[in-house]
């Protein structure tokens, strides 16, 4: 019953979002059935599309862990985007600098670099919050803009611009031996790009849950998040826990930044379509739990990938997806509304459990 109750709000939120989104499509003079059908087919209609859906989802899931982990300590990490950029920059820099290293050690060093850079970037905000009380919503957001500007500089006119760049702002190539191995060999599914970063993402989810629910550190972080004053009274060093929580959160985001670069095998200017911001929605829809975030990330990733086919085949703007994502988020937020629907439908026990 508890499992069912935990899932019922997001599922009903999706259903409501599809209905309201359909009305928007209808009002704009298109057929909602065609829109949803082509989006669904585009997202999961073939093994290749399923692989691509995963590719769209992975950075969202990892970045959402970054948002959620900080959230558990009571901090609103609105700047996962910048932490993600720092992770991407660090991993790319290591990979292009140590390009003569053998594969496995190089991959590991790149992962460590990405997580360290993301962690350090978020750690600044955590440290400032702990030391001076500077509001983390401002500092993480400001640091995001700074990180993105740094990446512009590095790629457009700085040390990461390759000598033979013909005006396209991009880094040198990631050496091929540093690539994540592709999961499905080409004789099973040609051109599939889904790689071992999926396993890293699952591992990240396990680590996320393990730290929070199975370690003293996680207990203390959650205690700080629930009531910082009580935690301090109980002898927890709140300032230090805030910094550690932000560093761990940033490490997830740093990894989230590395993954899309390792799909394109090059760091492009503005490579992120806003993963760090959409991750906030994914974290909220996933209710800050490891499994919830994974599922919410897959849903959002599927919508993003499905939108490409929908716009091409049904001539309906792919931005319908943002409308749907917003509606899902809105209905998840407005649980009272969902409970009211449940009660109306005669599911009183479920309505009470969903609260």
């Amino acid at each position: 019953m508890r499992m069912l109750a935990a899932g019922i709000t997001p599922v009903l939120a999706v259903v409501l979002a599809i209905i309201v989104g359909g009305i928007v499509v209808l009002a704009s003079g298109s057929n909602p059935i065609t829109a949803y059908e082509s989006m669904l087919v585009g997202a999961v209609g073939s093994p290749f599309d399923i692989s691509e859906t995963f590719i769209s989802s992975i950075p969202l899931i990892l970045a959402a862990y970054a948002v959620s982990f900080a959230f558990r300590s009571g901090l609103f990490n609105i700047g996962a985007e910048g932490q993600l950029y720092m992770g991407a920059i660090a991993a790319t820099w290591v990979a292009t600098t140590l390009s003569d290293w053998p594969g496995l050690p190089l991959i590991i060093v790149c992962i460590v670099a990405a997580m360290a850079a993301g962690g350090a970037w978020a750690g600044i905000a955590g440290w400032l919050k702990a030391k001076t009380g500077a509001h983390e919503v401002i500092t993480t957001m400001m640091l995001s803009y700074v990180a993105i500007d740094i990446s512009h500089w590095l790629l457009e006119a700085g040390p990461m611009t390759p000598a033979n760049a013909f005006g396209t702002p991009e880094s040198g190539p990631i050496p091929p031996q540093a690539a994540f191995p592709v999961i499905l060999p080409s004789w099973i599914l040609p051109n599939a790009r889904l790689n071992a970063s999926l396993f890293l993402t699952i591992l990240a989810g396990l680590v996320f849950a393990w730290i929070l629910w199975r370690t003293p550190l996680g207990y203390e972080i959650r205690a700080v998040g629930l009531n910082a004053k009580a935690a301090a009274y109980g002898g927890i060093n709140v300032a230090r826990r805030l910094v550690i929580a932000m560093v761990i959160a940033g490490a997830f985001a740093g990894l989230a930044g590395m993954v899309p670069v390792w799909v394109q095998m090059r760091l492009y200017d503005s490579f992120s379509p806003g993963y760090g911001y959409e991750a906030i929605a994914v974290a909220l829809v996933g209710k800050n739990s490891a499994v919830g975030i994974f599922l919410a990330g897959l849903l959002y990733g599927a919508m993003i990938h499905g939108a490409v086919a929908m716009q091409a085949n049904a001539n309906i703007s792919g931005f319908l997806v943002q409308i749907l994502q917003a509606l899902v988020l809105f209905f998840v937020g407005a649980e009272v509304l969902i409970r009211w629907f449940l009660r109306r439908g005669g599911f009183r026990a479920l309505a009470e459990a969903a609260s």
Partner: protein, 313 residues
């Protein structure tokens, strides 16, 4: 010495200072709206979405009617309308206000881009949309330097500047302002004294939408003369930062907006001077972090900010 000279030249340019005011104007409007909303106890991170909606409908109605008044009115009202959704979610449905705000932002991005594709996919927005008028001040215009800075600013820039003392007066010198602040600090007490918490909060959230919508209209009908997907590109979030930076006070928020405006203007004026302009663009953000950590100190939100109010028995 070279650096000093370059900066001295740029600081003496009236363009730099006029640009500061221009860039600050939409931020100021949105930030003031945020201040009003949060003073009543409703967290508002949705200024970005409200501005975007304002910008789109300014262009849509402007293109259809060729009437600047109707276009501006439409953007203000649409900003207010989308703010009403935030109000219903956070006041009546007691939703998490950050969740609702993010949903509004995402919805606004989706809706405006969706409609953009629907109406203007192939051609872009029409070029014959009306523009918000500039205000040419005859006498001041002829004063050297000062004239070049403030002699020919857009009407909305002046509106944004005037809105600062008006908002201050409204919040701190009127009866309704006192009620708004009471509702934001201690809603139960205000309710006991007969102030309608819900009514005050709806008023403030909708006001924030009207302000942000006007900021969006300015971006579309004066700065860009067009609409493009996600054209606010974070201005609403900067306004949010300015609101917190300014400690939920209209004048503080305005000063923070001026700082951001100055940073943007400086970045543009430094282009072509050999400085890496990408890094210069980051200076206002670095300054904000430094200032926040160094001498602004702990920002304290209104006590009941973000806490839904439940009417007692």
């Amino acid at each position: 010495m070279d650096i000093v000279n370059t900066f001295a030249t740029i600081l003496a340019r009236p363009d730099l200072w006029a640009g500061t005011l221009r860039f600050a104007a939409p931020l100021t409007l949105a930030a003031l709206g945020g201040v009003i909303s949060e003073r009543s106890g409703v967290v508002n991170i949705a200024m970005e979405g409200m501005m975007l909606v304002g910008a789109f409908f300014a262009v849509l109605v402007g293109a259809a009617t060729h009437d600047i008044v109707l276009a501006t009115l439409a953007s203000v009202l649409c900003g207010g309308l989308i703010a009403t959704f935030h109000g219903v979610a956070s006041i009546h449905l007691r939703a998490n206000q950050i969740v609702s705000g993010m949903a509004i932002n995402l919805f606004a991005l989706g809706l405006t881009s969706f409609l953009m594709f629907r109406f203007y996919a192939t051609s872009g927005t029409p070029s014959d949309i009306p523009a918000l008028p500039d205000v040419n001040i005859p006498v001041i215009n002829s004063i050297p330097f000062v004239g070049a800075v403030i002699g020919d600013l857009n009407s909305i820039v002046w509106v944004s500047i005037l809105a600062v003392p008006v908002t201050w007066w409204f919040l701190f010198r009127t009866r309704i302002g006192l009620r708004i602040r009471a509702v934001g600090e201690h809603p139960r007490a205000a309710d006991t004294l007969g102030v309608s918490v819900f009514r005050m909060r709806y008023l403030c959230v909708i006001l924030s939408g009207l302000f942000s919508g006007l900021g969006g209209a300015y971006l579309a009908l004066s700065v860009a003369h067009s609409f493009s997907d996600n054209m606010t590109s974070g201005a609403g979030f900067i306004a949010l930062a300015a609101m917190i930076f300014g400690k939920w006070h209209p004048v503080g928020a305005f000063l923070a907006c001026l700082l951001f405006g100055f940073g943007q203007s400086l970045g543009i004026n430094l282009q072509g001077t050999g400085f890496p302009d990408q890094l210069v663009a980051a200076t206002p953000y670095v300054l904000t972090v430094v200032a926040l950590a160094g001498f602004v100190g702990r920002a304290v939100a209104p006590a009941a900010d973000g806490v839904p109010y439940e009417v007692g028995e």
